[in-house]
């Protein structure tokens, strides 16, 4: 463009010159910039989300533990069905069946309410006089007018998911098993009016009630199966026994446990009688009679086993509900026997308890009164679900094997169908942190024993022993680590030449990076066996090392200056190393043995003052075990405390050393100018200013000790006990996760409780670190201005 071309009259708006192409930003650069910006922002967000995702994921896994049970009534179809007969329910809960007229079982089609009868016949035209339904095994134990008992097995044709069974092709089957006479002679005694059945694998027990004239007699008959390597043998009767003489009154309810060695009888006098089988005499002996089980005159309306057959649930005519369990009880004569005792009590229902059904995979059960329905869990004594106002009064209630669904029939014959969704009944706040009276124990306890050997094992998932163990380990670790680390930090930061400090600090940092598995191995396999019989030596060291060091320091500092100048400032620790080593060696090899016997004798003398000095042994472990009656393990908290020191000392040291060194030099210079000695500067200026930093160092050290896994896993016995005893082990949250998580089934209560342990560790350390960080930032801000 030429300058002369500009028109004179009207100045056009300023037009920027087009930028020459060589100055333009290339498209590629712009694109690249844009893409990278998006990528980085996206990536950054992902990282942040991932960090918080951990917390949310842990929360998501653990939350179901605190969910209550969900019980839903299926109101779409409520078929009206006959009320005569006894209902049963298959494992899937989809095909109910009705035992009717003693000669057929009718299978219900839930969709249209039709019944399909499957008849059965008994041999010799015998008639059924009594029957009962066993929902755990899905069978009907029966008794006939010929004085015989047997089983009717029902196969619904559906598998556990409600799909047609491969074996039967979905067709229901009813099978009558062999009948066995109840008495040895085979002659019927009166009419059998009630029976119960227990299956203990190789042993089966039938208990029958006979109406003999105006008396009700009780008989026990057991069958045993002899097994050989080749095949299962025949079931053969092995014992007949009459309980009648030992029972005062008319039995109204009998229970036989699935181990086949216990019978509980409830009489019309509201007494509960417990019989146990004596293996030696092969007789059933009365062990216990419980009168007034509810503590008042309330009658017993329901008495049934809880899963595992170690406890029974007792329902009263006024709605009281309690659980009785077998546990060792001390008798008046000083002996201890396992008897039933009340361990749990529930909120009473507002009417007599009419029905009881229970699960056969856990300890949940459902009880009803004419106006209420309540789903409870036996171990925790929690109410999982409740229907406070029932609009019908159930005349029959039946549940499936797992109690995932149940039926309640009202007086008109209408069948109300319920489904239960309770995945983690054994958990809940009470189970996780509360004291619980477990079966077989004589008092409520905090216990962790998540897996047992048998299916009916009552899992004990209290986190308290683990939290206690974590705190115990942390406590013993910090007791040792804090003084050492802080002293070292103070010394390194202000009394050591800067050139040496440059070497010492990385050394300590390397100590921090030692893999904890190495420390654990070293502690458990090298130190623990060596320390086992050297406790007196260790006690002597703990006393003598500081004492001698102070004495030495006092001695040295009172020497004239010519002496003192021989060790220049900043080299004190080098002198201390041999001093400590010599003391340690003397204690380890000699002093420990010399003092062991005198100490034990002295303690024995003191203890004989109150008469407990007559224990065996002269060594320290023996004193501990026999004298104090406390556990003494090779891998104990002492070892853990010391070894964990390796992990915690460098953490506390590094951070507090930083805090101490970062005290503004102007303050130090000022105090020096005023004539303060180097100790006075540290004591009055440096430590107070750095105290917040030291505090945050302690917090972070605490966090490290809390989460340490491999050391405690290897260097302790990992027993979840609650005991401060330093010569005993512990089980920490972290070690517990490491040992049990690989075996826990995904989604199970155990799995989720372990995740909860992880969540606790996560939150604890996160909070500790956040406190530390905030304190540190405050500190930084405050002294920035100085």
């Amino acid at each position: 463009m030429n300058q002369d071309d500009i028109p004179t009259q009207e100045q056009p708006a300023y037009q920027p010159k087009p930028v020459p192409k060589r100055f333009l930003v290339s498209k590629a650069t712009l694109w690249c910039d844009r893409i990278m910006t998006k990528l980085i922002i996206g990536g950054g967000f992902t990282v942040i989300v991932a960090v918080f995702g951990i917390l949310f994921f842990l929360l998501a896994v653990t939350l179901p533990l605190f969910k209550e049970a969900e019980v839903l009534e299926d109101v779409k179809t409520s078929p009206v069905v006959p009320t005569d007969g006894s209902w049963g329910l298959d494992a899937s809960g989809k095909r109910p069946y009705l035992f009717r007229h003693g000669k057929e079982i009718d299978f219900l089609n839930q969709e249209d309410g039709t019944l399909t009868p499957v008849p059965f016949t008994l041999p010799d035209n015998e008639q059924i006089t009594a029957y009962t339904y066993h929902s755990g095994l899905g069978l009907y134990p029966i008794a006939t007018d010929a004085g015989k008992v047997g089983l009717i097995t029902v196969k619904s044709g559906l598998n556990g998911h409600g799909d047609p069974d491969v074996e039967t092709g979905g067709k229901p089957e009813v099978k009558v098993g062999e009948l066995y006479p109840v008495t040895e002679s085979g002659e019927p005694i009166g009419k059998i009016i009630g029976l119960t059945y227990a299956d203990a694998g190789d042993k089966k027990v039938f208990v029958t009630l006979h109406q003999d004239a105006d008396k009700v007699r009780t008989f026990v008959m057991s069958l045993e199966q002899s097994r050989s390597l080749v095949s299962d043998g025949e079931l053969e009767p092995t014992g007949y026994f009459e309980l009648s003489e030992q029972i005062d009154g008319k039995p109204s309810k009998i229970l036989a446990n699935m181990a086949g060695d216990g019978i509980v009888v409830v009489t019309d006098k509201n007494e509960i009688v417990y019989f146990a089988f004596d293996e030696n005499t092969e007789t059933w002996n009365k062990k216990q009679t419980i009168k007034q089980a509810f503590g008042n005159d309330e009658g017993i309306s329901v008495c049934e086993w809880l899963f595992g057959d170690m406890s029974f649930v007792l329902g009263g005519k006024n709605g009281s509900l309690s659980i009785f369990s077998l546990y060792p009880q001390t008798q008046a004569d000083g002996t201890t026997t396992r008897l039933f005792g009340k361990t749990k009590e529930f909120e009473p229902l507002n009417g007599p308890i009419t029905h009881y059904i229970s699960s056969y995979i856990n300890r949940s059960f459902l009880v009803t009164s004419p106006t209420q329905m309540k789903l409870c869990y036996g171990t925790t004594a929690d109410t999982r679900w409740e229907e406070p106002k029932l609009n019908f009064s159930p005349i029959q209630v039946v549940g499936n094997h797992e109690l995932t669904s149940f039926l309640a029939q009202d007086a008109e014959g209408k069948l109300h169908r319920y489904s239960v969704d309770d995945k983690h009944p054994e958990s809940g706040t009470k189970a996780l942190v509360g004291k619980i009276w477990y079966e077989g124990y004589d008092a409520p306890k905090w216990m962790w024993q998540s897996v047992g050997g048998t299916d009916d094992y009552e899992s004990k998932i209290s986190l308290m022993p683990l939290i206690f163990g974590t705190l115990k380990g942390t406590f013993y670790a910090l007791i040792f680590a804090v003084p050492v680390a802080l002293l070292a930090a103070v010394y390194t930061s202000h009394f050591m030449p800067a050139s040496v400090k440059k070497v010492v600090k990385p050394l300590m940092e390397i100590m921090a990076s030692l893999p904890s598995v190495v420390l654990g191995f070293f502690g458990a396999l090298y130190l623990a066996p060596k320390m086992e019989d050297k406790v007196p030596a260790i006690i002597m060291m703990a006393i003598l090392i500081p004492a001698v060091a102070i004495l030495f320091a006092w001695f040295w500092t009172t020497r004239p200056i010519e002496w003192r100048n021989k060790i220049s400032h900043g080299l004190e620790y080098i002198v201390m190393i041999p001093v400590i080593l010599i003391i340690a060696w003397v204690c380890w090899c000699y002093l420990g043995y010399w003092v062991e016997e005198p100490i034990v004798d002295m303690v024995r003398g003191v203890m004989s003052l109150w008469g407990s000095g007559d224990f065996q042994g002269t060594t320290f472990p023996e004193l501990w075990r026999n004298g104090f009656d406390m556990a003494y393990e090779q891998r104990n908290s002492l070892v853990v405390g010391f070894i964990m020191g390796f992990a915690v000392i460098p953490v506390i040291f590094t951070i507090s050393e930083d805090a101490l060194s970062n005290v503004p030099p102007s303050l130090i210079a000022a105090s020096e100018a005023l004539g303060a000695s180097r100790w006075q500067i540290v004591k009055t200026i440096v430590i107070p200013i750095a105290s917040a930093g030291i505090f945050s160092a302690l917090m972070i050290g605490l966090g490290r000790a809390v989460g340490e896994t491999m050391i405690v896993l290897m260097a302790t016995g990992n027993t979840p006990i609650m005991d401060w005893n330093i010569f005993n082990g512990m089980r920490t949250l972290s070690a517990n996760i490491a040992t049990e998580l690989p075996e826990a089934a995904q989604g199970s209560t155990h799995y989720r409780v372990l995740f909860l342990g992880g969540l606790i560790l996560f939150s604890l350390t996160f909070v500790l670190n956040t406190i530390a960080e905030i304190v540190r930032q405050r500190l930084r801000k405050r002294y920035h201005i100085v």
């Binding site: 842990l58 103070v490 990076s513 598995v517 191995f521 070293f522 030495f552 100790w679 995740f755």
Partner: protein
């Protein structure tokens, strides 16, 4: 009245000097602890490879009793405290002696009171044998009975070299057999597995029946697949392939049998102190030497042999003997994988936090959170890794891509713990380390550099890419090395996400897609835990554990030292280049 204005008399010596001495205990203790620990591990770890002198002990347990002779190394020399008849404590000097020959004596160690030893002699001929089974043995060799019936006497000067030649030959055969079994036959087995799975899929999906002499295939109720056009032909083809593989298999087994023809024909004759001649096939012996005849350099040779074997061999006898190569390899692969995952994520996160995000309380709190994540116990990451990566991510992958295997064998592929998930878990765990140190490095890049770059017309990314990242590279490296060191030494999260005591195959090998990220792996740290705590004879395994520990510590310490050195250099550089 005159006020006394004079200062109090100055103390004769500085106040609090004694307390300074007291504080020095802390440091002294710390240094003793770290050097003590390292010293014990280095000593024991190296001693594990060093040939120990073998002695012949003649022991008389009762004053007039029979004398017995046993051969062994002294492993412990200690004092035992017992109560004597008068109830007084008495110390007894005793040796723990390693005799080996566990299958003959019932145990590999025994304790002898020193005052019961009548004679202790360094018999020159005593041999330490490392065997395929039964652990080590210390024996007095008599000779070798060769296949052709002739006997090589132990007193011959050529004995040791002949012995070594024969064991080397046996070793060679063993290795060839192993190669065929593991490599060729293993590959065939894998292929067979796959084909058999295909067969099962067809058989479970289609009902194949003879109708009027013609095979007819009908779809079953719940088929795994339903889109095979000609299942009968397909099945026949698969069966034919299987038959072919079986034939191939036969040829390899024939090869192995041929190689094995001469195995176990040469026999070592020896005695264990009681002049009873015992026999042991030479192919049972991996390595043998006469420790008492070795000079310093000879011992060094044995040391080297042990050391290389330890590094390069596979473990034997429930990990208590042999080498730890799979564990080294597993640790290495896992660490590399972890670094590959953590570096880009960490660097991008740090760049975002430092360069892109608007600095304010929000970003500051995010920074604190990331920082705090470094303090969260490693096992928590393991818990997360198992729940999220293994079960959730892995389970989803299985359902998407490996559903056939899941349906037929009911075995998960990625839905179970494995090296990929372990690496991912550790990457997440070490992410804060990388982010924090990268951020530190980014913030240390002088402002002037950025401004200069922008003033020259660089775009933001160009500035980051060409100026800031290169400047911050040492910082990134530091973070990465620290992360690797932490990852290599961590065991707890691995125990739940993929480590096993004995992995049948390495995560990278010459088979299939070469990299098998779903496989479980062995790890040095877990090896220590496993051999130290789960092995039946932990006394006999201790040297092995110490050696492994030494290796792991070396790895971690060297990495940390490197990181510290880089960091120190970095600091100096920026101190010098202040604007």
């Amino acid at each position: 009245m005159d006020k006394d204005l004079s200062l109090p008399p100055a103390p004769k010596r500085p106040i609090g000097e004694a307390k300074i001495w007291l504080t020095s205990i802390g440091l002294a203790l710390g240094l003793i602890m770290i050097f003590g620990l390292l010293g014990i591990i280095v000593y024991n770890g190296l001693e594990a490879f060093w040939p120990k002198t073998a002695y012949a002990f003649t022991v008389q347990n009762e004053p007039e009793g029979e004398k017995t002779t046993i051969y062994g190394n002294i492993t412990k020399d200690q004092t035992r405290h017992v109560l004597n008849a008068e109830g007084k404590q008495e110390s007894i000097h005793e040796y723990q002696i390693f005799t080996g020959n566990k299958e003959k004596f019932g145990q590999a160690f025994r304790f002898i009171d020193v005052h019961r030893i009548v004679n202790q002699e360094e018999l020159p001929r005593l041999m330490t044998l490392e065997r395929l089974e039964g652990g080590k043995a210390i024996v007095d060799p008599i000779g070798i009975k060769l296949q052709n019936g002739s006997v090589l006497k132990a007193t011959d000067s050529e004995f040791l070299s002949d012995f070594q030649r024969l064991t080397d030959e046996a070793d060679h055969v063993r290795k060839s057999v192993h190669r065929i079994e593991k490599g060729d036959i293993g590959a065939i087995n894998n292929k067979l597995d796959e084909l058999q799975r295909e067969v099962k899929i067809i058989e479970r999906s289609y009902d194949i029946r003879e109708v009027n002499g013609v095979s007819v295939a009908t779809l079953k109720d719940n088929p795994i697949v339903d889109d095979i056009k000609n299942p009968i032909a397909e099945l026949a083809k698969l069966k034919e392939q299987i038959g072919e593989l079986h034939r191939e298999y036969e040829t390899y087994t024939a090869q192995v049998a041929k190689l094995r023809e001469h195995e176990g024909k040469d026999i070592l004759l020896y005695q264990l102190g009681n002049n009873d001649v015992q026999e042991m096939p030479l192919d049972q012996i991996v390595y043998g030497f006469m420790p008492n005849e070795l000079g310093f350099f000879g011992k060094l040779g044995v040391f080297w042999h042990h050391f290389t074997g330890f590094i390069l061999d596979d473990p034997r006898e429930a990990n208590t003997e042999g080498g730890i190569f799979p564990a080294i390899f597993g640790t290495f692969i896992m660490t590399v994988l972890m670094s590959m995952l953590v570096t880009p994520i960490g660097v991008i996160g740090a760049i975002y936090l430092r360069e892109y995000a608007k600095q304010g309380p929000l970003v500051q709190s995010v920074r604190i959170c990331v920082n705090n994540l470094a303090g969260v116990p490693s096992i928590v990451f393991g818990v997360f890794g198992l729940g999220f990566f293994v079960y959730y991510l892995g389970g989803s992958i299985d359902q998407l891509f490996y559903w056939k295997k899941l349906a037929v064998d009911n075995t998960p592929t990625f839905g179970t713990s494995g090296i990929l998930w372990a690496s991912l878990t550790l990457a997440l765990m070490t992410l804060p380390v990388v982010i924090v140190s990268t951020e530190e490095a980014l913030s240390a890049v002088p402002r002037g550099l950025r401004e200069a770059a922008l003033a020259c017309g660089a775009s933001k990314w160009q500035m980051i890419q060409r100026i800031i990242l290169p400047c911050a590279l040492p910082g990134v490296m530091t973070g990465l090395i620290l992360a690797m060191a932490r990852g290599a030494g961590e065991v707890a999260p691995l125990m739940v996400t993929g480590v096993v005591k004995l992995a049948p195959s390495l995560p990278i090998d010459g088979e299939g897609p070469f990299v098998h990220l779903e496989r479980k792996f062995m790890h040095l740290g877990f090896h220590i835990y496993d051999v130290g705590f789960q092995s039946p004879d932990s006394d006999a395994a201790q040297p092995m554990v110490f050696a492994t520990t030494l290796l792991l510590i070396l790895l971690v310490v060297v990495m940390n030292l490197a990181a510290i050195l880089i960091r120190n250099k970095l600091r100096k550089r920026y101190q010098a280049s202040s604007f």
